[in-house]
Amino acid sequence: GAGVSQSPSNKVTEKGKDVELRCDPISGHTALYWYRQSLGQGLEFLIYFQGNSAPDKSGLPSDRFSAERTGGSVSTLTIQRTQQEDSAVYLCASSLAGRAGGWNEQFFGPGTRLTVL
């Protein structure tokens, strides 16, 4: 079956512009994560969606970052008034619903490389 897909693959924008990054998770996966991977850094957690529950936004670095998940499937990460320090690879991952005491593998998309000039 299809894996996690992300679009666009690469995005170049000018400082101050808004950008939208899209993630299509694996069908049936109710958990969805966004991460940011900056050069030389690990994956930085941004936001987490689980079914109809309120998202965990604790990783969003500023109020310029927001994300939505429509119909429990596709998710969009929006960065407003982009800054040069926003340049990074943005990775999306999905998994089956979490369960206490258990574990479900995260499946990652190929990421979107964002470059802010």
């Binding site: 690990g42 979490g98 005491g101």
Partner: protein
Amino acid sequence: AQTVTQSQPEMSVQEAETVTLSCTYDTSESDYYLFWYKQPPSRQMILVIRQEAYKQQNATENRFSVNFQKAAKSFSLKISDSQLGDAAMYFCAYGITTTSGTYKYIFGTGTRLKVLA
């Protein structure tokens, strides 16, 4: 604070030889999971191996094995009979189940592995 440390930014190994990548973590949790992910140039994160903290036996997946030392909070990855296709960025990650039954993952900064022919 929950942190994951990979102290080796880059490692090299001769083809067919064995290499060990180190990882340490800091947590006050007693029940958690540990992972090694591989990220080739395609950016697609691939799960290599995982270990449940409550299991004393070290996980093994073909040429990949871990040395899990819970008391020392150490989780190293050993790659035996290294192949050119093993060249990638390797990330150590730590995962916990939150009280709401969801999952949170913390990633290290990665180790770039070069395989020499």
